[in-house]
């Protein structure tokens, strides 16, 4: 294809160079995200190792049904996002919009369930701070240690949800641009790069789910 198309920025020699640079740039950004979440995972490792019973007790208060549904929802959204990129490579504008909208809806479902879960936590006094007094089955654990679990629960899922919200916003933008015909089979880099971001956010959840929801499903052993 012509190397002087309107999408080629002046400091790049060819479209291939531009696309390649954008892709590895996006990957480097995702690596920074790995390290960003990584700090929280390190805190999780430290405190779960120190207070396994408190973490189990805290995990008990989470709704596994919601968690599992949300995991499935995100996996579905990764499929629809991959299909959106696929459609973009084939230049099929209507399919792109369809799959982006599906991804958006699934993302919305995830955030909706998350909101319900957070509300339940609020009602159950499980938010760390002045009003923290959860109802625990295991009376032998220190409430203070359980608050560490919940601090990490909110920190990690909150940061994840923030990334989801940004993702949802970007999806709206991409749908709008696709409808205006901005993307072609030759150039659809923003959709590909966003796909990478969306899959990354899915991967974070793939780890958060077992670590936060499935700690110890058989208490009192």
């Amino acid at each position: 294809m012509a190397s002087h198309s309107v999408t080629l920025r002046h400091h790049f020699e060819t479209s291939e160079q531009q696309k390649d640079a954008s892709t590895i740039g996006m990957w480097m950004f995702l690596v920074t995200e790995i390290m960003f979440f990584g700090g929280l995972f390190m805190a999780y490792i430290a405190y779960r190792g120190a207070y396994p019973d408190a973490f189990a007790a805290g995990s008990q208060k989470l709704n596994i049904v919601y968690g599992t549904i949300n995991t499935a929802v995100l996996i579905c959204s990764s499929l629809t996002m991959a299909m959106a990129v696929h459609s973009a490579a084939l230049g099929k504008k209507n399919l792109i919009i369809l799959f982006l909208i599906l991804t958006l809806m699934l993302g919305g479902v995830f955030l909706g369930i998350k909101a319900v879960e957070y509300h339940d936590k609020y009602v159950g006094h499980e938010i760390p701070g002045a009003n923290f007094h959860p109802e625990l089955d295991n009376k032998n654990v220190s409430v203070n240690n359980v608050s560490l679990y919940f601090a990490l629960y909110f920190g990690m899922t909150g940061l994840h949800a923030l990334h989801m919200i940004v993702g949802v916003g970007l999806l709206l933008f991409l749908i709008f641009k696709t409808a205006k015909g901005a993307y072609t089979a030759h150039w659809h880099t923003p959709i590909e790069l966003f796909g990478l971001y969306w899959h990354f956010v899915d991967i974070v959840w793939i780890f958060l789910f077992p670590l936060l929801y499935l700690i110890d499903l058989h208490p009192g052993k």
């Binding site: 400091h11 740039g25 920074t32 700090g39 120190a50």
Partner: protein, 541 residues
Amino acid sequence: METAAIVKREPRTYLNVDHTLKGWLLTEDHKRIGILYLIVITIFFAIGGLFAALIRIELATPAGDLVESGVYNRLFTGHGIIMVFFFLIPSIPASIGNFLIPLMIGAKDVAFPKLNLLSWYLYVIGGSMALTAIIYGGIDTGWTFYVPFSTGYASGMVMLTLVGIFINGFSSILTGLNFMVTIHRMRAPGMTWFRLPLFIWSLYSTSLIQVLATPVVAVTLLLAALERGLHIGIFDPTLGGDPVLFQHLFWFYSHPAVYIMILPAMGVTSEIISTFSKKEPFGYSFIALSSLAIAVFGFIVWGHHLFVSSQSVYAGMVFSVLSYLVAIPSAIKVFNWVSTMHKGSVQLTTPMLYGIGFIGLFTIGGLTGLFLASMGMDVHLTDTYFVVAHFHYIMVGGAIMGFMGGLHFWWPKITGKLYAENWAKLSAVIIFLGFNLTFFPQFILGYMGMPRRYHVYAPEFQVYNVLSSAGASILGLGYAIPLTYFLWSLFFGKQAPANPWGATGLEWQIQSPPIPENFEITPVITEASYKYSHEEAAHVG
């Protein structure tokens, strides 16, 4: 057509192509962005220096007579935060690096010019937040923000400072990302990795650290801010939290950060030593790969900041051994620089004075680091002035000398002007003498046991403190002189030729200052770098 009066037209440069404010504040030209950074960096250096001056005035006498302890805590905290986060970390990469990387690799700009501009705005916004906190009385946590003091007991606008540093961190991350993609994908045809200037290798290694390490301190400071604001207790020992975990997460970044500060200066030194010995760098690939080695090794030694924190002795041993290893690639560089000078045609220009000064002072700083890497010695030396002297030898004697050397080396290229060489040499000597007088006595003070971060001290320490404060005033004068002649050169300096130093490298093949696109046509590289001919070596200046 007029033939009688031939008007001398100024050649088109990146500076004169647009004189509007918008052309600067919305520029996508990496060269202009480099200059924007240089201006703000200089301002922060001056503010950080002001704090240093107040500290040294207070410490001239054993009693706490200039300020009381609470204020003194704010002084060294402000000095540390500004100098580390808002001066040293961006310094060489964001100013000189931004300007030179595309030129040195034969590209028209960096990979993501808009992102580059965003990085500058993030730097300015983050810096303004921290500065606001400082203007409103400052904070007293130390630049290290150890918990639970910073999250539960410190006074002042800690959260605002933390948020400012957090935002500034993203400036650093995006710059590093931009540089790495640029170096990977925008090299001119024929510019293979091992033909790259050593400055590029050092900036690539620096960028690697910026991208991988900064996010960890970002999330850590975010957690600390949340703890302070919402009392969620992630590091709170009363809830079972671990303050040492904060230190692990903090130093996971902050140790590699010191390599962010020194690697670019090492890269500058390689360029300067080679140019002013008229000789290719001895052991080019060793110098190049040692930059990567420092970046990688730098990630696995952070625990040497936690030797007395209640970190386990076993972990301390691991970190101690690894800390010795990280000295090896640095030593390789020193040997190679000296070998480059050996039998070279050495010219003692101003950049060379800074380059040679760097080698000597960095060696002292590095060797004293080994004392601190030894756990047994560190138990006695930690939190004394020995540590303060050690890191100032590296950061001021090393990084800032590298920065000054780089500024003097590339000033003609950046501005198209020549500065007054004699004043420049004089200030280099003043800085060198002032620096040593300021910080060498601090090694002795540390050895004698004077603790850091105290504004009162035992009377037997006064002699060395007075020497140190006297040195600081000389050092301050030394920095004021370049500011003056650099500014003077902008208005009254002689026009610089394309290659005033007879150096090799793509940036010296184009006019001074460069055109906005850097190169009229994309260069094609056909031979190795640093090719000095025998005629060039024999011809001085």
